[in-house]
Subunit: 197 residues, 2 copies
């Protein structure tokens, strides 16, 4: 990315460049000065938007996690489709998104694994948002009579926990296994069957 | 443990002492010489039973993993009890065993986490044995009409995967959470419900 100081310096431009810098230098070496240099601005200009290196790393982590949430939200809030099939589609889309993140750009994925460890607040908020989407799908199914759950938030949490092998980045190495899709389908079927009314 | 060279040098004595040495020195520093010294024998005597440091580490890992298998096997092969309640008891016993290993002796647990990573063959055999026990419980339930599974080994694997958060040592830190028991119960109930005929 060539320096282009003429464009307005938006938070989004800073974050996109930070991601590039992290990919290039790795999370331990990348500095705010590297980000400013790549943008062709002073590091003071970057600090006007993000008051510290920690704030910048937190924001870039948040942005990375938020990317998959939008697409999952579309599935969760789709006006058509039964709750069990939405649930299946949602779990598939989550696994798909994670596998792509890990497989297409392993360096960036490794970088984010480091950032996730240092920004547990951002991660917790992200996980809550995902479990909340699951809860809305389950509540819809309970209302329609296709699913059954006494405690919807607890059921959503249980579905999320039970499918952890297919979204927790700790398992990224397993996602390359030739049998992983079959295993994902077996767990998904088991979990959905466990929620059926 | 005081040196006691007069006792016969059995593989079991060597392994028990190796565990002590690993606990004391940690997995990177412990040597076969340390084990021999603690036993009051020459390292040649140890090598007569375990031809290399790698073989000794593998055997001690295997022994550590095997300890929980015996108790789980008792549950799996109990002549009484319905399959769903056996399944629940088995999952509870597995979680209980893992939590105790992690909580009662965190240093030894950390040591074994290192050994597990270097002895993947031993770990894979252990996991297969556990999944095989689950499969026998599920097959019993299918035969009795209390559980339903088209492909019993696949269902056993799915149950094991779905409950990973409660037995995979990667999650040991989560086991200290005040809500972990509730979360375990929710996942277990969901999974058993998913298998009910």
């Amino acid at each position: 990315m060539p320096p282009a100081a003429a464009e307005p310096l938006t938070p989004e431009r800073i974050l996109a460049t930070t991601e590039e810098v992290l990919r290039r230098f790795g999370p331990t070496k990348a500095t705010v000065v590297d980000v400013a240099r790549a943008l062709g601005v002073s590091h003071g200009s970057v600090y006007r938007h993000f008051p510290s290196k920690a704030a910048l790393r937190e924001a870039v982590t948040d942005r990375w996690l938020a990317r998959s949430v939008v697409m999952l939200e579309e599935i969760a809030s789709a006006p058509t489709g039964s709750a069990p099939s939405k649930l299946e589609a949602w779990l598939e889309a989550l696994f798909e998104a994670k596998r792509h993140k890990a497989g297409d750009d392993p360096e960036l994925f490794a970088t984010y694994t480091v950032l996730l460890a240092e920004n547990s607040g951002v991660v917790d908020a992200h996980l809550s948002e995902l479990i909340d989407q699951l809860g809305r799908i389950i509540a819809e199914g309970v209302a329609a009579g296709s699913l059954s759950a006494e405690d919807v938030p607890a059921a959503a949490r249980a579905v999320f926990d039970a499918t952890g092998r297919f979204h927790d980045p700790q398992y990224a190495a397993d996602w390359l296994s030739p049998t992983i899709i079959t295993e994902f389908e077996a767990v998904t079927a088991l979990v959905i069957r466990g929620l059926r009314a």
